[in-house]
């Protein structure tokens, strides 16, 4: 057997990353994909073995090899469970980089990753057809007439992923600077994610309001670019680096105490900028500083002296842990604490709350059946709680849960935790306004 490492291959994982895998198979128990397909080849252990065999020149990259690396949800459950410290999900991601560098790429990849994600305006224009479809009542009509049933089930499912879109992207609406209500205690730079701006605008609007209510001066740079996660997911690490450098240069001059995001995926990528640029002499230090200031919205709010709202949200609420928050950022407790600040919320844990929902960004497009199968397990666990609301701090998860609640017929509202907090503050403000004769009509 050939045992010569292909050291000339760019981004090839190091020997330390796979050598000590004893193939115990414990990772199989945690892998959402393996647990559905029950095919060893789909599991983390095979990813480690195949990576090693490629690195040692025993096998080449085949279309099947590519598909296996792209099947991984990068939920990191295998990384977390491995007692040896092997990170199979990282290996799959790094092999995507190798694939990107060494294999001919699908023609669409370049326009999507270089032409689409880095450019907010193009993204915003792209949701316009969807917006018109919703606004003109076509959606209601199509749903009513059952026209969508004529489409393949996959398109039907995707139709249910997105909520009512904002009239205008939040990036264009949100002021670049929002002053605190009362005394200024924190200087916050808000990283507005792509999905938050174009699809889940209400959430980020809520994030900024909640922070302002709690003594934060919030800056939201309008030129902000994609955090880089989609490009990272498709192995284009050079593009991730250039986006990282751009965002670092945009945010650091604001001299913020913290850089806050309400997107779990953005947060996990931003916290990695330091690692991603550690070999870039011009940026290593700045990137490390940038990453050290990044906080998820729940992580930030629970670290400051937050004033609990007085308004009520009467609902049974459960919480789904986004992979990019619970494992990538180790934020588990804060979103739960945040939800329990809200009067009226009856919090209930679901079984396997940190089991991936099957979203992983684009799996519903690329691996529809796996994505649905993984989602079924999640939706059944949601159903078993009897919750009215499932909260989760990741737009990818939210879209997937929206899809799943429809597909598996689970009657539950999907929200970002911050939205519930905002609702509670609003009720409080409405009650005060109602009690105050001076503000009456």
């Amino acid at each position: 057997m050939a045992q010569h490492r292909r050291d000339d291959i760019p981004h090839l994982p190091t020997e330390e990353q796979y050598l000590n895998c004893i193939r115990c198979g414990l990772c199989l128990s945690a892998c959402p994909i393996y647990r559905e397909t029950l095919r060893e080849t789909d599991g983390p252990r095979a990813h480690v073995v195949l990576t090693r065999k490629y690195a040692e020149g025993e096998i080449d990259i085949s279309p099947e090899f590519v598909d296996l690396m792209y099947k991984c949800l990068d939920c990191e459950a295998c990384n977390a469970i491995c007692p040896v410290g092997i990170r199979p999900a990282d290996l799959a991601m790094e092999m995507r980089q190798v694939i990107h560098k060494t294999q001919p790429q699908p023609w669409l990849k370049k326009p999507i990753f270089h032409g689409y994600f880095p450019h907010p305006l193009i993204q915003e224009l792209s949701v316009l057809p969807l917006l018109l479809y919703q606004r003109l009542g076509l959606q209601a009509l199509a749903r009513k007439l059952g026209i969508l049933k004529l489409l393949p089930r996959q398109l039907q499912d995707m139709e249910h992923m997105v909520p009512k879109l904002p009239a205008r992207p939040l990036r264009q609406v949100l002021p670049e600077e929002v002053p605190p209500a009362g005394e200024e205690k924190h200087r916050v730079a808000f990283f507005l994610g792509c999905f938050q701006s174009t699809i889940f605008a209400q959430e980020s609007e809520a994030s900024v309001r909640v922070m302002a209510r709690n003594g934060c001066r919030v800056f939201t740079p309008k030129q902000v670019k994609c955090c880089g996660m989609p490009a990272a997911g498709y192995g284009d690490i050079d593009l991730v680096k250039s986006l990282a450098r751009f965002n670092i240069d945009l945010f650091l001059p604001l001299n913020p105490d913290v850089i806050v995001t309400d997107c779990a995926t953005c947060g996990s990528t931003l916290k990695h900028y330091g690692e991603i640029l550690k070999d870039d002499p011009a940026y290593a230090e700045k990137a490390a500083l940038f990453s050290s200031r990044v906080r998820d919205i729940s992580e930030f709010l629970m670290s400051i002296d937050i004033r609990p709202p007085k308004g009520e949200v009467r609902a049974r609420v459960t919480y789904h842990d986004p992979c990019h928050l619970v494992r990538a950022q180790k934020v588990r407790k804060q979103p739960r604490d945040l939800l329990q600040l809200i009067p009226g919320v009856e919090f209930v844990e679901m079984k396997e709350s940190d089991w991936c929902c099957g979203s992983a960004g684009t799996q519903i497009l690329t691996h529809y059946h796996n994505s649905l199968a993984v989602n079924r397990r999640k939706m059944e666990n949601v159903r078993a709680t009897g919750a009215d609301i499932v909260a989760t701090g990741c737009p990818g998860c939210q879209m997937q849960l929206n899809m799943g609640s429809n597909h598996y017929n689970v009657n539950v509202r999907v929200v970002h935790p911050i939205q519930l907090l905002e609702e509670a503050y609003r009720r409080e403000e409405a009650e005060i306004a109602a009690d105050d004769p001076s503000t009456g009509d």
Binding site: Q3, L19, N20, C21, I22, R23, C24, G25, L26, C27, L28, S29, L38, R39, E40, T41, G43, R45, A46, V49, L50, K53, I59, S62, E64, F65, L68, C82, P83, V84, G85
Partner: protein
């Protein structure tokens, strides 16, 4: 190579997507939890006993070797397809067919993950005691084929104590049923027990009738710390003589303690010579508490320098997390490990450990020792780098000496992992030629063509 017409036939039986043969698939089904590997020609994943039977009929006709496989967590290379041919992957057969609460018997398919099964019955207040460390990544079928044990064996016994009956498929495709729901059964030879631990050499186990117990409501776990290994060993017998049968008495030596601590930071005493993890359980809280008091007293009398009883469920889980992580966490130290599982009479434990340490020094290879002190089943793990031919050669010498020592002390080669191929060189030492020949004869009755997991458990006749 399997002929295309045969592949087509197999696809008709199990469905095209359940017949695999891409290079990546062949690699993925070439290994288990050892360092061994060999690629099969094809992987077939049937959905039920009927499909297994039809697949095996074809393999029998075409003389294709068959290696049954669950989740590939075996530690003796028993599911490595050295023979090429077909890996019969049973993970899709993962249904719990019935839980008969009145008779406390479950009927399950071979591919059910043991931990999933345990969790399901526990939700009903029932209990399936066997608890191999691989419980989350091994299947009932694999557990039966290897007669898996685990820490709880001391009080509750091994897998074979819970199997009342089996559905299995003979190499020619015939389906047999052994045993049944009747607890007492001497009708004919006990084929159920013959298949238990047969490592897939006699028949493919597809379903099992499993005996359940009421779930113990209370458990207490303690850690006893020793400055001297002999004191730890003395404690085991002393506890049993007091009339207390703990669910588990697990032993870890100093090297093990340090390795786990390095990885998990549980606050284990890194300067101790050994620790015992002892658990008492039962349905009456007072009894469980009283038993734990006895355990703690006896441990101190035998020389334990410290006895810590877990106060909360979280503390208890931490102790067990430490124990379960031993085997894999060893790999942090060296790229490869060979986990042996010799079994010796309880009284021989200190002598066995002393001799293992001497062997370790003689061949200059780290060996950590942990295991089930209550039943004398020890896991000496040799840590090495297989890429170094000299080291690998020394590993082989170390294994030979360890096995020789185990037999000399009145013990045997393997308590729960199985023989597979890794322990075959030492089989004659443990069994003698006559017994091996007898077993080869039994194999011939089940598998006249020698197609089922050839070359495993004992040498091919």
């Amino acid at each position: 190579m399997i002929e295309p017409r045969v592949v087509k036939e197999l696809e008709t039986i199990v469905g095209k997507e359940h017949v695999l043969s891409s290079p990546e698939d062949l690699i993925a089904y070439s290994y288990d939890s050892t360092f061994e590997e060999h690629r099969p020609d094809i992987i077939v994943s049937p959905a039920n006993t009927e499909e297994v039977s039809r697949v095996m009929r074809i393999a029998y006709r075409e003389n294709i070797p068959i290696v049954p496989r669950g989740m590939g967590s075996g530690l003796a290379a028993a599911s490595i397809p050295y023979s090429g041919g077909m890996v019969l992957n049973l993970t899709r057969m993962n249904r719990i067919l019935e839980i008969d609460q009145e008779n406390m018997i479950a009927t399950v398919e071979a591919g059910v993950v043991t931990a999933d099964f345990q969790a399901t019955v526990e939700e009903m207040g029932l209990f399936y005691p066997p608890d191999p460390s691989s419980i989350k990544h091994s299947t009932i079928g694999g557990n039966i084929a290897c007669n898996a044990g685990g820490p709880r064996c001391l009080k509750y016994g091994v897998t074979s104590d819970y199997v009342l009956g089996l559905t299995a498929v003979l190499p020619n495709g015939d389906i047999i049923k052994t045993g049944g729901k009747a607890i007492k059964n001497v009708t004919g030879l006990n084929l159920t027990q013959l298949l238990l631990g047969s490592e897939g050499t006699l028949a493919v186990i597809t379903e099992a009738l499993l005996r359940l117990m009421p779930k113990p409501k209370y458990a207490r776990t303690a850690m006893a710390v020793y400055a001297d290994l002999d004191d730890a060993a003395k404690t085991v017998n002393a506890i049993l003589l007091e009339g207390v049968v703990p669910a588990t008495i697990e032993l870890m030596d100093d090297t093990t303690i340090n390795t786990i601590e390095e990885y998990l930071h549980l606050g284990l005493p890194t300067d101790a010579a050994a620790i015992l993890i002892i658990e008492t359980d039962g349905s009456d809280e007072q009894t469980v508490l009283r038993e734990m008091e006895t355990v703690a007293r006896v441990a101190r009398e035998c020389g334990a320098t410290d006895v810590r009883v877990a106060k909360t469920e979280a503390e208890r889980n931490e102790l067990w997390r430490g124990r379960r992580s031993v085997s894999p966490s060893l790999a942090r130290r060296r790229p490869n490990k060979l986990g042996e599982d010799i079994s010796v009479p309880r009284s021989a434990i200190p002598e066995a450990i002393r001799r293992i340490k001497a062997i370790s020094a003689k061949y200059n290879l780290p060996i950590v020792v942990f295991g089930h002190a209550g039943d004398g089943n020890l896991h000496p793990n040799i840590l090495f780098d297989k890429r170094d031919p000299d080291e690998w050669h020394r590993v082989e010498q170390v294994s030979a000496e360890i096995f020789g020592m185990a037999v000399e002390l009145g013990g045997t080669l393997t308590g729960e992992h199985g023989v597979g191929v890794l322990k075959q060189p030492y089989l004659e030492l443990a069994l003698g030629q006559t017994v091996i020949a007898l077993q080869q004869g039994i194999k011939k009755v089940f598998d006249p063509k020698g197609l089922l997991n050839p070359g495993k458990k004992f040498p091919a006749a």
